[in-house]
Subunit: 288 residues, 2 copies
């Protein structure tokens, strides 16, 4: 189709958003619109500038014969700060308190707009890391893992606590839950993860870190590397003698739950400090 | 920010894609860009035309004081047909066969690009239905349900087979699995679904339909209405005396699994016939 710049801009914007972190050769667009590469470059310049001004990401240009353009979705710092504030507000609602001091989070995890934005937060933070796959454990972490993976354009693998016939052969490990000190099992389908993968672990909740530590042990069985760990909520609990996981990022931190007074105290997690310190996302020498 | 048409087109395209099925007042854009409403209308005309020509959806204009514009993501018929062919190809790979005649689908369900497109297929099919929420059962249906819900801009509720302390009080039912005839339990957090909701049921696999029938029974407990049923794969099994669910759409149909010869036969499901017959998506009187 031969179309005008205005139509090209709409179509290219749509295409780039649908294909984050994917290198698109300029010839793809040149052929699609029967346009000169120079016109396509100009169009991409306009898109890049608009994305950066709106704080929704950037376009990276990779030069050379195997080159092209890549859309990196990110969230502007002010928006990230505002979103974490919004999350903190949401978490402190007293009606979340369940018997035993547990928190009801199903409404947050069931809201696609919130889930997408949480995904974008972690995808921004890990945008420059080499990540082959996002891993989580069934079931509450699943939507978050897919949201992150969508923005990073990588597959998701799901660790389970019980074996399913539809998974084929599995690798299982035993691990000790950090807070209850009970021995538990988790397993992963053998063919779901390639040996040597770089894995980003995403989960909804971390207390002492036993579950995440279990996933780290499971990764060793696949000779895989932990590329990063991100959790929506971490709980700061006095009962926790020591945290089993050290290098992680949390969006919010549960600092106190008072069942009697029906009060929940939440503060921003360590994510935001790290994010604020990032002057600019450093893509190495890849960007021209 | 005061920006030129080219920048506005990029920014508006981004915004509309991020907010499907959401009515955006024209004043939102007019204020954002400090532009006249007439210019915004022209921009939206360009976006609408480009989306329709590329077969990625349309913009609906709602007139009046409470009016605005709404992005309805859809998939062009040829693309839907091509995608179902692609799915059929993927399903027939002999290495999917697991002992007992089960199929390994984890790679398909773990691929965000495929999952997104499956979501878009169902979101297109149900674009004109009144849907308040997407429901699925843990765990394999979860990514599909979120993908559909993302495009429809509605929340997701997840039915479980076991009770979790973090869900609060639940409503549970017993149901009979259609193929194994065993009695099973499923439950849903009481506060996760509002009474009287219109519910789209999405799942990965349907054999006799016992699980989906269970979800339908569960919905009765919430005085909720089934707005539609969509499954990725249905299995045509001679052992099934009668299908428990009648009104559903499937993307692919498993017609034969031969363990000995390692052969899987797959044909397009009933989705595609229905989709092909839709001359044009009918939005009633809403579109000008």
């Amino acid at each position: 189709m031969k179309i005008k710049r205005s139509g090209r801009l709409v179509d290219m914007t749509y295409y780039m958003i649908q294909h984050p972190h994917e290198l698109v050769p300029l010839t793809y667009f040149a052929e699609r619109y029967q346009s000169a590469k120079s016109s396509i470059s100009e169009d991409l310049g306009i898109i890049k500038q608009t994305f950066e001004e709106s704080g929704v990401g950037t376009l990276l240009t990779v030069a050379g014969a195997a080159g092209g353009v890549k859309y990196i979705p990110t969230l502007a710092k002010e928006e990230a700060v505002a979103f974490i504030d919004e999350l903190c507000q949401l978490f402190t609602k007293p009606e979340r308190l369940l018997p035993g001091g547990y928190l009801y989070l199903t409404d947050i995890l069931g809201n696609p707009a919130l889930v997408k934005k949480i995904g974008l937060m972690f995808a921004s933070l890990f945008a420059t890391k080499k990540i082959d796959v996002v891993m989580t454990v069934a079931t509450k972490g699943i939507p978050l893992a897919y949201a992150v993976a969508n923005y990073l354009d990588v597959p998701v693998v799901i660790v389970r606590r019980d074996s399913k016939v539809t998974e084929g052969s599995t690798v299982s490990i035993n691990y000790v839950s950090g807070s209850s000190k009970r021995i538990q099992t988790m397993l992963l389908a053998r063919r779901s993860l390639a040996v040597g993968s770089n894995v980003l672990i995403i989960d909804d909740f971390m207390k002492a870190g036993g579950t995440i530590n279990g996933m780290v042990s499971l990764l060793e069985e696949f000779d895989a590397t932990v590329a990063g760990i991100g959790v929506l909520v971490e709980s700061e609990d006095e009962d926790i003698e020591e945290r089993l996981v050290e290098d992680y990022y949390s969006l919010v931190q549960l600092s106190e739950v008072n069942l009697k007074e029906k009060a929940i105290e939440v503060i921003p997690g360590n994510f935001i400090n790290h994010y604020k310190e990032m002057k600019v996302i450093d893509f190495g020498g890849e960007n021209e």
